[in-house]
Every structure is written in C-alpha cells, then in structure tokens.
C-alpha cells in the first residue's frame, strides 16, 4: 500500500467536509474490497475517510413492512436482526451467506452497493425489491443506481446513507458459488407481491451480466403466470450480454439463471 492520510469522520456532514480536502479521496466503509484493492495498488487514494464510526449510518428500522437499513450496518447485523427476519427472511438469509464470518462482521451494505461488484449479492436483492438507495443528497431507485460493472449513479463525494424497501409477500435468493472464491457465479433474487399487475413478480440476477445486475424478463414472465419452481422449468434465458470467463461460459451462466431461479422460488414458497 502507498502512504496515505487517514481521517475518521464523526458524522456524514463531517465526512463530506473532509472529502473536499484531499486530491484523491476515498470513503472507507467496511474495507473488505477497498483494502485488498489498495494492497494490489488497483486503488491508491491520497486520503481515506473512515465512515465506520458514524452512528447515524448504523442500524435497522422495521415498521410494518417498511424496512430501512443504515448504510453502515454490517452483513452480520443484517443477518441477525429478528425484526427483519420476521418481515423479509430472504434478505437476512442473503446477508448470512456473504463471504465468511470475518467478512460479514466488517463488511457493510452501503460499502457493498457503492462498490457494485458484478458478483455481489445485495444488488440482486435491491433490484428485485425495487429498493430505494438513500444518499446524503437524494434518493435513487435501485434500477437507476446500479449503472455498470463497479459503476453506480453516485457522484463524487456522495455517500450512501441507507437502503429502504417494502417487504414483499414472498422472496427468495439462491446463488451458485464459485468453488474457489465462493462469490456468486450466478445469483437470483425473486420477489412477489410488491405491486399489482406486471411488476408483481420481480427477478434480479447478479454474477452473470456483462453490465452487472439485471432483471430477467423471461423468468419474470414465467413466474407471473404461476409463482412456482416448476413454472421456471424449461425457460430459455438468452446468453447474449452474459459474462464468459475461465469459470463459466455465457451459456452455462444462462442455464444457471434458470436453476437458481427455480431454487430461489422454491425457497420463497417454503
């Protein structure tokens, strides 16, 4: 790692103020991606602003079906929250299977979505749940927030403060893990009952798209007819715009979308 200046922010306002000082400033949330990137020198910020001690960014609020998760909430805290488990167990389950315990106790939801790794789990949940990303400046719909590989709608200096969504009637998430890294080679989040009519079933896919997370129209159409694992059987998902790499071809990922959608739907119905 290169030399850097470290600042510990006491509030969101303080962090924004600190960010105006350095020439290449990065916010540090859990650091589970940023620190490794700095070690390989893919990232070499002049100034790091630690968001880890900002009380207003932490915690989960559940009121009826409305859920707000503070950006600084760790995956372990999301996984363990009883109120969240009661209204949307699919999100608790997703958080419980990110990385390993050491990563889950340090990594945060805000850091994960701001980084928008194409194989991260949370983007699929946020897109399928039609969640709102709250920043210090505005509110952004998940569909507009994730713009490409490691790209988001966040502007320079903008900080994610929370994620908000209404719990659906049913939801489930399932991923096929890369055997070595355990990252999602393909992960599918299904949600039903968010809206009437055509948006009733929403299905989002992570780990497979060339441009990051996306909604699968084909799976949505099949599940809209009948929200049942069997309804996904035989659905053709096009491999165009899916990733091909040493781990899996685009065709293989297209097949995985169907299988993971089946398993996620079965989970949602269980």
């Amino acid at each position: 790692m290169y030399s850097l200046n470290y600042h510990r922010a006491s509030s969101v306002a303080d962090a924004v103020k600190l960010a105006k000082k350095g020439d290449d400033v990065k916010y540090l949330a859990g650091g589970m991606t940023l620190i490794p990137a700095m070690k390989t020198r893919l990232s070499a910020p002049s100034d790091l602003i630690d968001l880890g001690h900002i009380g207003e960014l932490k915690g989960i609020k559940v009121s009826g079906k409305n859920v707000t998760i503070g950006a600084g909430t760790t995956h372990a805290e999301v996984a363990a929250n009883e109120k969240l488990k009661a209204v949307c167990p699919a999100v608790s389950d997703l958080a419980a299977h990110i990385g390993d315990p050491a990563v889950r106790h340090k990594g945060t939801i805000g850091g994960s979505i701001a980084n928008n790794d194409p194989a991260a789990d949370y983007p699929a949940a946020l897109l399928a749940l039609d969640a709102t990303v709250v920043t210090n400046k505005r509110e952004i719909a998940a569909a507009k927030f994730f713009t490409g590989l490691f790209e988001t709608a966040l502007k320079d200096g903008e900080i994610v403060t929370a994620v908000r969504f209404t719990a659906p009637a049913k939801a489930g998430y399932e991923k096929f893990r890369n055997p070595a890294s355990r990252y999602a080679m393909t992960g599918v989040f299904v949600a039903k009952g968010k809206a009437n009519g055509k948006d009733d079933v929403r299905v989002a896919v992570t780990g497979a798209g060339e441009n990051g997370v996306f909604r699968s129209k084909e799976i949505e159409a099949a599940l809209s007819k009948k929200f049942d694992a069997a309804a996904v059987e035989g659905v053709k998902v096009p491999s165009k715009n899916l990733m091909s790499d040493i781990h899996a071809s685009a065709d293989y990922r297209a097949a995985l979308v169907v299988v993971m959608a089946k398993r996620a739907t079965a989970k949602a119905n269980s």
């Binding site: 470290y6 589970m32 390993d100 315990p101 340090k106």
Partner: protein, 161 residues
Amino acid sequence: MKRLVSMTVNGEEIELAIPPYRTLLDVLRNEGRLTGTKKGCDVGDCGACTVIMDGSPVNSCLVLGIEAEGATIETIEGQHAGPDLPHLIQEKFMDHGGAQCGFCTPGIIMMTKALLKENPNPTESEVRFAIAGNICRCTGYAKIVDAVLAAAEDLRKGRTL
C-alpha cells in the same frame, strides 16, 4: 508520517506509532511484537489472521491498524485459562489432534471463540459454517470440528471461555 494509535490488546492498553497504511495484522506482529496471529494470504481469503475486534471476528489483514484506534482486540496470546494453562479451546485442540502444522490454528481458535460466545451449542454444520473462512492446508477439518464441538460440550458443563 506515523500516527500515534492506542488500543486495548488482550486487556492491556497500548500506544503505538504506526504508518496509517499499515494493516492491523502487521501492526500486531511488528510494532506489537505479537507474532501468534499469522500472516497467510494477506488478502482476506485464508483466515489465519483472525482476531476479535470489539467482540467480532475480523481478518486483521483487511483492517488498518489505525482503524483500531480505541478498539479492544483479542489475539491468541491472550487466550489462556491461567498462567501456563491452555485455554479451553486450545486444550480441546490438543486432545483431539486439531492442529497439525499449526499455522491456521490461532485464527481458527479465535474464530471458534467468537462462534461459541454467540452460540455455545452449535451443531456440526454450524461449526463448519463458522470456520468456512479459515483454511487448513495440512489435511482436513474433521479433528478441528471435533475439537470445537468438545469445547462446546465443556461450556455446557459450566466451563467458561
């Protein structure tokens, strides 16, 4: 430029002058002279560097030392039942042959402690899930899992962590 950082390590408050880019792992091993915490992959994959920070297990290679300013850190050096007496978990690792070369052992013991504090009555699959991020390259995990389950059994009989 070095910064002065204070933290509580194994119950003792220490103050160290460290460069802000140095990881907690390197700070513990170099400035802290506590080499029990091992440096395996140094990118958060192997779990050999697991320590407990403010009650939670973390990969100390993925935390900056300066992030630990004001934190309470537990490392393998602080784990013992008394002077020259092994910690309950260490004792069970010895009884069950849970260590071979020993390089992954400090990390696994710290992860085990974090697990058992949260769940003193884990099933075998919960133990395997908890140590999923701790890699042993000598052999397998059967004896390690046996040791963790035996430690849990002793906890239920009234022994403490």
